[in-house]
């Protein structure tokens, strides 16, 4: 089971990203655990400089801006 973390302080785009991860996983029939990281110190510890960030199984795959759906699919399938 994949662990997906969405890094972001709760801005609109961060919530959209979390929602995208959830709906994409559901559509592809993949079970994931979705975690929202909103604490600034924790977000910073991933070494990103822009939010929302996406972390799949401990690896940062995206930082800054709403990701593309195709990319989200790719991360969930083979990351």
């Amino acid at each position: 089971m994949k662990n997906v973390k969405i890094l972001g302080s709760g801005c609109k785009r961060c919530m959209d990203t979390a929602e995208m991860a959830r709906s994409t996983a559901e559509r592809l029939g993949i079970t994931i655990t979705l975690e929202k990281v909103t604490d600034y110190a924790q977000i910073a510890s991933f070494g990103i400089a822009a939010t929302p960030g996406v972390v799949v199984d401990g690896k940062v795959v995206h930082a800054g801006g709403l990701p593309r759906v195709e990319d989200m699919e790719k991360w969930l399938v083979d990351a």
């Binding site: 801005c11 993949i30 600034y40 110190a41 977000i43 822009a50 939010t51 940062v60």
Partner: protein, 350 residues
């Protein structure tokens, strides 16, 4: 459980994309040319007295709303494409370990092009500082990014003129460079919140994205949807205020308050502008109307800069990483800089 593979990306050939872009630009130009006539026609049809204040206000409103929106779409699209070549991560690696001086100049310049949203200000700030970007250099970036942006410059260029737009660009950058440099010289690192100084993260290792032309144009379209979707209401509000000023505020009253004769108007405009928050897109129609009524350029631009560069919501967000004292220094340095720019403008443009 079925697992459908991700759809392969279909990119249109570049030739087709460029042709489409040219067609769209020509259409844009044709429509844009008709706006003034259309506004005049619309106002003539409406039941308002010829030559009345109301008519002038409506004329301003109906001409400016579509004009500003169309310009905004064009500018934001172009800038969205340009910005797809930049990212905060790239900017950070360009800035980390830079010495002050050159670092401040680079940071202010990159601030214009790096995608930035104020909700991202804290992660960006911490991300920069923890990766070894000097504090003053980080501030140069943080000052330039919201203030000198494509929306402000594009609208100034078309609504007010290229000389003013260019001067705004030059003084905006100079302000970001000098203010950041001063903050750096003061060595205030110990005024950061404790947790910020403890974060020492290795920069995330993200594969650099190679984008096709198709994807870059898509980035432009996304920027339009995102930014225009967010600011259109501000623009209409700003134009409505501008229209009221244009139609109803007597020129001699405004000139007395905001004119070049009143030296105190610059600091007053700045202290009014700091707590206010508006998007650049909302404030420029007001700027246009004020200038048309004889307000002094320096005073109006100082007001505009203080509204855009310093805002209460942003300061509240930054409070999470900066101590109150550091915020006070930040506001003090930037506000003084804006006041200086205002006086300088008033002296230069007579």
């Amino acid at each position: 459980m079925s697992l459908s593979a991700p759809a392969p990306r279909r990119d249109l050939p570049s030739v087709l994309l460029l042709a489409g872009l040219v067609v769209a630009l020509v259409l844009w130009w044709l429509v844009y040319g008709q706006l003034q006539g259309a506004a005049r026609w619309l106002v003539a049809v409406l039941p308002v007295a010829n030559g009345s204040h109301m008519q002038e206000a409506l004329q301003f409103f109906f001409y400016d709303v579509p004009k500003v929106l169309m310009l905004l779409v064009l500018v934001v699209f172009a800038m969205g494409v340009v910005r797809s070549f930049f990212s905060p991560v790239k900017t950070r690696s360009l800035l980390s370990g830079r010495r002050e001086g050159l670092g401040n100049i680079l940071a202010a310049g990159l601030g214009v092009f790096t995608p930035f949203c104020s909700c991202s200000a804290v992660p960006l700030f911490v991300g920069f500082v923890s990766a070894g970007v000097p504090l003053g250099v980080t501030f140069s970036f943080l000052i330039a990014a919201p203030m000198v942006n494509e929306v402000a410059l594009g609208l100034l260029l078309v609504l007010v003129g290229w000389r003013v737009a260019l001067t705004y660009l030059a003084f905006g950058l100079a302000l970001a460079i000098v203010a950041g440099w001063i903050i750096g010289r003061l060595h205030l690192e110990h005024w950061l919140e404790d947790w910020v100084r403890q974060v020492r993260a290795a920069p995330a290792d993200l594969a650099p994205e190679e984008m096709t032309l198709h994807q870059r144009l898509q980035a432009g379209a996304t920027a339009v949807k995102d930014i225009v979707g967010r600011v259109w209401l501000w623009i209409i509000l700003g134009i409505a205020v501008g229209a009221l000023i244009h139609g109803f505020v007597p020129a001699d009253l405004l000139a007395a308050i905001l004119g070049r004769g009143a030296w105190w108007s610059v600091p007053v405009a700045v202290s009014l502008g700091v707590p206010m928050y508006s998007n650049a897109a909302g404030i420029i129609p007001v700027v246009e109307a004020l200038l048309g009524k004889g307000a002094a350029l320096g005073t109006v631009l100082a007001f505009m800069m203080s509204v855009i560069a310093l805002s209460l919501p942003e300061l509240i967000i930054l409070r999470k990483v900066l101590s109150l004292r550091l915020i006070a220094v930040f506001v003090g340095v930037v506000a003084s800089g804006i006041i200086a720019v205002g006086f300088l403008f008033n002296a230069l443009f007579t």
